[in-house]
Amino acid sequence: MYPFGKGFNRFIPLLLLLIPMALYIVFYFGPSILTVIYSFTDVKNLPGSTYQFVGLDNYKDLFFSGNSGERWRSIINTLIFMFVVTIVQNGVALFIAVIINQRLKGDYFYRAVFFLPVVLGVAVVALIWGMMFDPLNGPVNRLYDVLFGYQDMFFGSFTHAFGYIIFVQIWMYMGYSMLIFLAGLQSVPKDLYEAGHIDGTSKWQSFRHITFPLIAPSFTVNMLLSIIGAMSTFDIILATTDGRFNTRTMAYDVYKETFRGSLEMGLPSALSVIQFLIILLFVVVAVRQTRKREVEY
């Protein structure tokens, strides 16, 4: 009746909740709000320096100054990165998850192999692919040479570097999406397939009408994770090309402006706010679309 007791005791859970709440506000919510406020000021990364509100100046600097062309390109790159990574990563992950779910011999082994890159971490992955894609001595260039008689500059090419980064990103996180799909697939009751089989469904039909609707929640989770993940990726770019050769994205720009640009903090704050708004837009649309497909039988 009174799960938390009576009188003052009733407030104890609330009081206890205040601790994580305070931590959340101090270390997460507060700085986020401050970022929004800072984006309208000329605040500097100098102790004791005063700052003033400058209205929309930082936003104007972003889109109407000498380097605004690059800003737009970063935004476009971010969108390309997000679309390609989300679609290809989830497509491949779902395909492999379905195959592994067929009770293959040694499925644990395959699962571990596909998941391994997630555990390696960005620095190691960048090192591995840096060596694979070494234009002078790397094995991939030899392969290209033998197969197509063609040589590439990989991470040093203005036209191809971004594509290779997308490939590495997908290679790195595909195992993560696969695991989530696999969990979804294993929760689909077998009797539904049997019922379908009796009704004479083909393999594609049973995937389309039984599997897919039932793993829709995993699909939603994977979509969200890859959209947010892809749009805020900067580490793999930093580790492979360091933003050179047309590989900058918004997240990379935020990092660069904040830690390596000038001492100004207003401009990177404005950039963060814009990045947040774009991510929010895509997440809201994606959630609305995928939620529609979720069913329970």
Binding site: N45, L46, F154, G156, F158, L263
Partner: protein
């Protein structure tokens, strides 16, 4: 049941975290007295083996002479990683002596409205950097060097520890001798030399294109000798005032000459070679020349101790006399923090560092051209390869250029970015890149 279990787990977790806290505070109590009463001096620097070792040696001697101090020498990755650490530590007042990557870059002038203010200037203006004007050890250094690289508003704030040449090419003396080639004095001699090497099947030049910035080094020679008819300062002022331009004949000539080198004489796939491995290509004879700064001489020597190599300024024009000097910068420059935990210790350390004996240890290990007079470096490389070309030593474009805020990527980081030229880059001709640069320069003009 579940409730009970979770209660037990929670209680367990709480106890564990409490004991963990207790443990750590105990260890702190025990540690504090062990450090003794020594006053810590915090020094921040970047990783560069030969220099780090010399500084560590000096630190050891310092601690022996002044046992009341303990030097805490921290190093980070070079360039951007270091800049990041620099900013974090100076603004948190958590450093006493900090190095900078070059001497003071030029600060905005009255003819550069709305220009970027360099970090060092903002730190001095906000009172984070100690004024060294009255310190006796400043007199150990050449007054001209202190004036050029350590002075702001008539006060001395920094100690430039040495100069480096950036505009030269290392060359393999054996390859040159075997093929009857000599050091070129003019641009056309330089082209002939490269063609002769190519005709014998020898790759002329290697450069670390993957890191992009090493491409700036030969360009510094071209800029210093070509822009403004050899008066770079005049050209830079002109570009601010609209009298010269990034797409004027001289600026296009700079890009065009670099394009000639990139297209014809660089090793295949140079855009894939990183800075750490480039010297090994040169040291093992895979290329006859290496475009790199003089500071890398110890690396080249270490990569192949048998190699006989020299260093000459890239001849940018047809005027041999004009070509015969290096373009470069002041390297490692020390600042003392005004509000650091131990300013007095910082000054003491700088004084010790500046004693000729210790300074010699440093400058020998670093391979720098000394900024103190009468220092014997006992280095063949400095005496025979660098000194003959130091007469008209000029600062590089990178140091002299005062950039506009929010400048586009083709002019960012005080460079002209020849990596954007075809075949690696997107622009087919020097003029195309030059036009984009001028457009970006104008677009970044203060409104």
């Amino acid at each position: 049941m579940i409730k009970k279990l979770s209660a037990v787990l929670l209680a367990g977790a709480l106890t564990f975290s409490l004991t963990a806290c207790g443990g750590s505070s105990d260890s702190v109590d025990k540690e504090t007295p062990a450090k003794g009463d020594k006053k810590v001096i915090k020094i921040l620097h970047w990783k560069q083996d030969n220099i780090n070792k010399a500084v560590e040696e000096i630190n050891k001697k310092f601690e022996e002479k002044y046992p009341e101090y303990k030097v805490e020498y921290t190093t980070t990755g070079p360039d951007d990683e270091f800049k990041q650490a620099q900013r974090a530590r100076i603004t948190a007042n958590d450093v006493d002596v900090l190095a900078d990557l070059s001497g003071m870059r030029l600060s905005p002038q009255e003819w550069t409205p709305g220009a970027k203010v360099p970090d060092w200037q903002q730190w001095i203006d906000t009172g984070l950097i100690a004024d060294l004007s009255g310190q006796a050890f400043i007199k150990n250094y050449n007054a001209n060097d202190i004036e050029k690289a350590g002075t702001y508003n008539d006060k001395v704030y920094a100690v430039p520890t040495g100069k480096v040449a950036m505009s030269g090419l290392f060359y393999n003396k054996e390859i040159f001798e075997q093929n009857g080639l000599s050091v070129p004095k003019t641009w056309s001699e330089f082209i002939k030399l490269n063609d002769a090497l190519k005709a014998k099947g020898i790759t002329p030049i290697v450069v670390a294109g993957k890191d992009v910035w090493p491409l700036k080094l030969p360009v510094f020679a071209l800029q210093a000798k070509i822009l403004g008819g050899g008066d770079q300062q005049k050209w830079i002022e002109g570009v601010w005032k609209g009298e010269t331009a990034y797409n004027d004949d001289e600026a296009v000539e700079v890009l065009d000459k670099m394009k000639t080198i990139q297209d014809n004489y660089m090793i295949d796939g140079f855009m894939g070679i990183d800075y750490a491995t480039a010297p090994s290509y040169f040291a093992t004879g895979k290329a006859a020349m290496l475009a790199d700064g003089s500071w890398d001489a110890p690396t080249v020597a270490a990569a192949n101790p048998e190699l006989k190599f020299g260093y000459f300024p890239l001849p940018a024009t047809e005027d041999a006399a004009k070509n015969a000097s290096f373009v470069g910068k002041y390297d490692v420059t020390w600042y003392a923090a005004e509000k650091g935990p131990n300013k007095e210790g910082a000054l003491k350390w700088l004084e010790f560092f500046s004693e000729p004996e210790n300074y010699t240890t440093f400058v020998k290990a670093a391979g720098f051209i000394p900024t103190q007079d009468n220092i014997q470096t006992e280095s063949d490389f400095i005496d025979n390869e660098l000194t003959p070309y130091l007469g008209d030593f000029e600062l590089a474009y990178e140091i002299m250029m005062i950039n506009r805020q929010n400048i586009g990527e083709h002019l960012a980081a005080e460079g002209v970015h020849t990596e954007f030229l075809a075949p690696g880059g997107l622009y087919k001709t020097a003029k195309e890149l030059a036009d984009i640069q001028q457009k970006e320069w104008e677009a970044a003009a203060p409104k």
